[in-house]
Symmetry: C2
Subunit: 305 residues, 2 copies
């Protein structure tokens, strides 16, 4: 096998991915595991990593290892300090934290970023900054508004190649809680995406903005009176929540001229539909951005040629 330029670890709250990255940021091989940081027994992150990629570490003893994501949070392997805004490749490269494993291997941890840490609205990211850097590098971009949907969705503003502002919305987590544990629960069955119900949810919010706690209850009552099928309630609720997220963003930061969506394909498509609903042109990024971001940061730090 070609010797990789970099070994990249993307370790989040709910998943682990290790990749052999080539000189162009492409992925030669990758391994995924659902063992996010909260699933690691006794916090033995080093043991898990060794198990996962021992052969790579043996085969490529001189290839630098870089890691990003929630692995550097309080519940992760090594809590690294938050970098501050504005944040670009150079800052991320400069703020990396080196850690030596018991086997004598060095891991370079990319740290997260905080905004307004001592103010009334602090915010934090860990991992999304690396994906975003990957996108900027791959497309030679210096500015834009970016949306990274997930459990905690991030909206980020980039100016002159650096992140200057961001906001977290707990949309994904609230959707999951309501769907599993509330009176609105719709179970875990996966039904095909019902676009009509999703748009109906968006419309409900547009008609009554800033009323999330009552808007979500209509998921229950529409179903109670047979005005929506049971199968469609999940997508209706999704529309209500995502609509609230968009309206909040547009109210606080204005309507962006365009939006780039970086995330899981199914979620990205949903957010693209919402963007269209609110009249915002959008682009969905292709996957593999963490690896590109890790390479760009490693290169800026002169870890790799």
């Amino acid at each position: 096998m070609t010797t990789p330029t970099l070994i990249g670890i993307d370790w989040g709250t709910s998943s682990f991915r290790a990749s052999l990255i080539d000189a162009d940021g492409g992925t030669l091989e990758s391994r995924e595991d659902p063992s996010g940081i909260l699933a690691i027994q006794n916090r033995d992150f080093e043991g898990f990593l060794k198990e996962a990629i021992d052969d790579w570490m043996c085969d490529f003893p001189d290839t630098p290892i870089i890691a990003s994501g929630m692995i550097t949070s309080r519940n992760g392997w090594l809590e690294t300090p938050y970098a501050s805004l504005p944040l670009g490749i150079k800052e991320l490269a400069g703020e990396m934290v080196k850690h030596r494993t018991q086997d004598g291997r060095t891991i370079h941890f990319i740290t997260g970023c905080s905004q307004d840490p001592n103010g009334e609205r602090p915010d934090v990211i860990r991992g999304e900054e690396t994906e975003l850097i990957g996108y900027l590098t791959a497309h030679g971009l210096e500015s834009g508004i970016f949306l990274l949907p997930g459990t905690h969705n991030k909206w980020l503003r980039v100016e002159d190649g650096r992140i200057t502002q961001f906001v977290t919305h707990m949309t994904g987590e609230v959707y999951s809680l309501l769907g599993k544990h509330s009176i609105l629960a719709f179970g875990e069955e996966t039904t095909p995406f019902c676009e009509d119900a999703f748009l109906r949810g968006l419309t409900a919010v547009k008609k009554r903005p800033g009323s999330l706690l009552s808007n979500i209850f209509t998921t229950r009552t529409l179903s109670l009176f047979g005005n929506i099928t049971k199968e469609a309630t999940a997508d209706y609720l999704s529309g209500v929540l995502i609509g609230e997220e968009f309206l909040s963003s547009l109210r606080v930061d204005g309507s962006p001229p365009s939006l780039t969506i970086i995330g899981r394909q199914d979620l990205s498509l949903r957010y693209q539909k919402a963007a269209e609903f609110f009249g915002i042109p959008s682009t969905i990024a292709t996957p593999g951005l963490s690896q590109r971001g890790q390479l760009a940061i490693a290169r800026s730090a002169e870890l790799v040629p």
Copy 2:
């Protein structure tokens, strides 16, 4: 013991209460149980009731029995049709549903009410209407704006003695879900009410209205940076949620000249603080209103003298 005028059953999702009611709506004796309708094994509501008040039924064979609350919902004893708006004592009396038990006793079920059942924002209540009638009767009132906090909070408008409009907010349920299952979880420990944190939550929402999904995340980040104590996070989150509920109500229906709060004492105090924060004079009702409402409705139906 004095013969009661009425036996009143107030049976909700999470609690049961039976009362012997006198001719003034006062409670001679009452029995409570945490067995809400969802806790009744095999839906044997009749068996549970017999167990709970068999002696009363024997001692007072001619006293009418009346029941209100979620007991008339789909998951209850007998699903009764929803009455429609406007809704007052006469309508509630006229819409009562009689049910004969296996022992030959008659139970008069007070039904709930729906609003806009075939429209885009249906809403429903079951039980709160009876408490509200109790309040109106006790105070000789014909109009006002009423707030009944609980798992699903109701804001109701009364005109000419009848409910003309209402809105449900899922504030209580969302608070409980976030506190138990989310990244914001603060466990079940009860700490004294921290008014400062509650007001801080209200202030956060006032400064950034219509952004619930990002506002709640500040509960996490303020705590992460030590800007709020762990003990105070629950009350901060409570302020964020209740603030959202108030702002939504004020936006949709305007600021009421005054507000009457009917509910559990601790919750009512919290809502009174929020009302004060938003400049709305408020009154907290004294307990025992379901019984008063049941008597007023029974009297209007000529079940009792």
